[in-house]
């Protein structure tokens, strides 16, 4: 099977080959329990993702952007972070949120139309608001990392974004600022081959990881469907940042198996064959195979995870559908810390009526 087109060019680092055989050193610093956790999160995440698509079809969510195929990129990177580190996500990082301990029901308030931004507590979870204006969160991450640096707390920040985001001015300005100030920041790009209907080759003529050199810090290209490879690459970047050596740009080559979102019909612009081909590089199958061969997992364990994932997905569903519309007052309640008088009069006009 051919790898997706956008994986061409500079070879990505990897530890596990697509068939699950180790081609690098799998001793990345994850013990057997961690390894099983990684697998478990990936299974859980995929199951929840599929549940969300079903929920959307049933009218329980508004538009939903699935992440199937990107589980290794998300879980592998998330597991490389410490509890004090802070994440600024884009809008497709539900798996990261899960691994981070964000309540998925709260997270999904976003896609239910219940609330905008960060319905969960971004400070407590150290997981920033979901961010739709492409690449804007990368500047927030740079600012947060600057704050960490000024506070000297030794924590680091990670910004997640897609291949398409690298075309925005905000990506550039934030990355350059990070370089100038050697910020404790990891720029984690999930290059999933597509930005809605636009393939990566029409997004940029260069390789994304190579951008870093122009900003004066390292870039790496990793096989984003190899959870161990992703973990190792992220871990190296995190350690670097924590040691005060500045930012790293990681380009994780992965693939968006589903449509851009439930509102998108990918058959308009993408061959079914491409998707079928990409399935041969499935991150869960790859890691599962290695876990078995390494003796860390067996059929029973996988069945347990699958059952747990079903249960988890149904619990999330139950929590979500129980969620009615919020009180009308919420449209006004947090706009200002000190709401001005004319604003309060309008609130009165709106809610009194």
């Amino acid at each position: 099977m051919d790898a997706p087109r956008h994986w061409a060019g500079t070879a990505a680092t990897r530890i596990l080959a697509p068939d699950g055989t180790a081609v690098g050193d799998p001793a990345v610093g994850l013990g057997p329990d961690d390894l099983r956790d990684a697998l478990r999160w990936m299974v859980l995440a995929r199951r929840l993702d599929r549940e969300c698509i079903a929920l959307q079809r049933q009218g329980e969510l508004t538009v939903y952007p699935g992440f199937e195929g990107q589980e290794a990129a998300q879980i592998g990177s998330a597991m490389a972070l410490g509890a004090e580190d802070f994440i600024f996500p884009s809008f497709r990082e539900l798996a990261v949120a899960l691994a981070r301990g964000v309540d998925p029901v709260r997270y999904l308030w976003y896609h239910r139309g219940t609330w905008h931004g960060g319905p969960y507590d971004p400070r407590a979870t150290r997981f920033g608001p979901i961010c739709i204006p492409i690449a804007t969160q990368i500047a927030h991450a740079a600012g947060y990392a600057l704050g960490q640096q000024l506070d000297g707390v030794g924590a680091i920040t990670v910004a997640y974004f897609g291949d398409g985001a690298t075309s925005e001015g905000d990506f550039h300005e934030a990355a350059n600022l990070a370089g100038v100030r050697r910020l404790p920041l990891v720029l984690f790009c999930q290059n999933n081959g597509w930005a809605i209907s636009v393939p990566t080759r029409e997004q940029t003529a260069g390789e994304i990881w190579r951008r870093a050199e122009g900003y004066g810090f390292p870039g790496v290209r990793v096989d984003g469907n190899d959870v161990l490879g992703v973990y190792a690459a992220t871990r190296a970047a995190v350690d670097r940042a924590r040691a005060g050596e500045g930012p790293t740009l990681i380009e994780a080559l992965t693939y968006r198996i589903g449509a851009h979102s439930t509102a998108d019909d990918a058959t308009r612009y993408r061959d079914a064959a491409e998707v079928a081909g990409a399935r041969a590089f499935d991150p869960i199958a790859r890691f599962g195979a290695w876990m078995r061969s390494a003796g860390h997992a067996d059929d029973d364990l996988l069945a347990t995870y699958q059952a747990e994932a079903d249960e988890h997905a149904l619990a999330v569903r139950a929590g979500l559908v129980a969620q009615g519309p919020p009180p009308e007052a919420w449209a006004f309640d947090w706009v200002y810390a000190h709401p001005p008088a004319p604003f309060l009069r309008q609130r009165e006009e709106a809610l009194g009526g």
């Binding site: 219940t114 690449a135 075309s167 930005a195 209907s197 308009r268 449209a331 604003f343």
Partner: protein, 324 residues
């Protein structure tokens, strides 16, 4: 008689413009093979080739900036900003260059740029997908700004916009993309700068644009049942405003209600109110009433209905104005 959705009418407008003028280009994010999130550019690339209809990287500032450069080379760019809020990264280019370049070059370079923006709320979309950005554009001198409310008028306004030698921002009310209207598409009829009266009435004038026009008409029906004759004006052209029409309606009805989705403060209602006061103060029997979105960020889908002007709110405001 053919029936058109606004999406199809806009698509046809681009199609016809691409045929009529070989210098017309259509580009933006996902406008090519995909045909646009709302299908407005559907089939154009297949028909006109990827030389004239093409996708760009996700770089709104460069999209608009490139359009400016293309004008120097004698092209006529039609660019799409996928959603209202995603036009903001291009505001510097719009304000500093699109709006000013003709003046800056002392008329040597025309800027026949059309900036199409899927705008306004009402589709229970996610944040940044329901904004009303018109104030940012209308306040910016040097631009023209139009908002169609129906398929046939969308065709007409977009054709006029593309043909105009000046830059025109076309705010397409996304909640109306799938609304239908029967009739023949034509460029004849009111152009940029003209409003139109969609319903006659002598007691109060309700001024609206875009998605709110249908609500204004519904409100007029309710008002009619209550014995109040409401005239409904579809503004269509936010910049320039149809001052004559506004003045005439204000003089004839003495009472004006203006409706929009944008936050009240410095929303179009402020300008309509100020202009009506300047043009027809002596005829005004009541203050111009504004029925608008609140001065708060556009809310989540679940709270959208409480934010957007409802038929009830329009009716109440009109009744209060009439009773003033």
């Amino acid at each position: 008689m053919a029936e058109w959705t606004m999406s199809a009418a806009l698509n046809r407008a681009l199609w016809d413009a691409l045929i009529d003028d070989q210098r017309v280009l259509v580009f933006g994010e996902d406008v090519g093979v995909s045909g646009g999130v709302f299908r407005v550019t559907d089939g154009l690339q297949a028909e006109f080739g990827d030389r004239r209809v093409f996708d760009t990287p996700i770089s709104e500032a460069a999209i608009v900036g490139a359009a400016v450069g293309l004008c120097f080379a004698g092209w006529r760019p039609v660019v799409e900003m996928q959603f209202d809020a995603f036009s903001y990264p291009a505001l510097e280019q719009v304000i500093d260059h699109v709006a000013k370049m003709r003046m800056r070059t002392r008329g040597r370079v025309d800027l026949p740029i059309t900036i199409r923006i899927a705008a306004f709320g009402g589709i229970k979309g996610k944040e940044h997908h329901g904004e009303s950005p018109e104030t940012y554009y209308v306040h910016t001198a040097g631009l023209k700004v139009v908002v169609p409310s129906s398929p046939l008028d969308a065709y007409r306004l977009l054709r006029h916009a593309v043909a105009d030698a000046d830059p025109v921002v076309v705010l397409e009310p996304k909640a109306r993309y799938w609304g239908k209207e029967a009739g023949e598409l034509a460029t004849e009829g009111p152009g940029i700068g003209a409003g139109r009266v969609l319903r006659t009435g002598d007691d109060v004038t309700v001024v609206a644009y875009g998605t709110m026009v249908a609500r204004a008409l519904d409100a007029a029906t309710v008002l009619g049942e209550r014995g109040v004759g409401a005239r409904v004006v579809d503004l269509r052209s936010l910049s320039p405003l149809d001052e004559d029409l506004l003045a005439r309606c204000a003089r004839e009805t003495g009472r004006v209600v203006v409706v929009h989705e944008a936050p009240r403060t410095l929303g179009m209602g402020a300008e309509v109110a100020a202009r009506v006061m300047e043009l027809a103060f002596d005829s005004l029997a009541a203050p111009v009433a504004r029925v608008t979105g609140w001065d708060a960020p556009y809310p989540p889908a679940s709270l959208e209905d409480g934010y957007l002007p409802s038929v009830d709110r329009i009716v109440d405001a009109a009744m209060a104005t009439v009773a003033y």
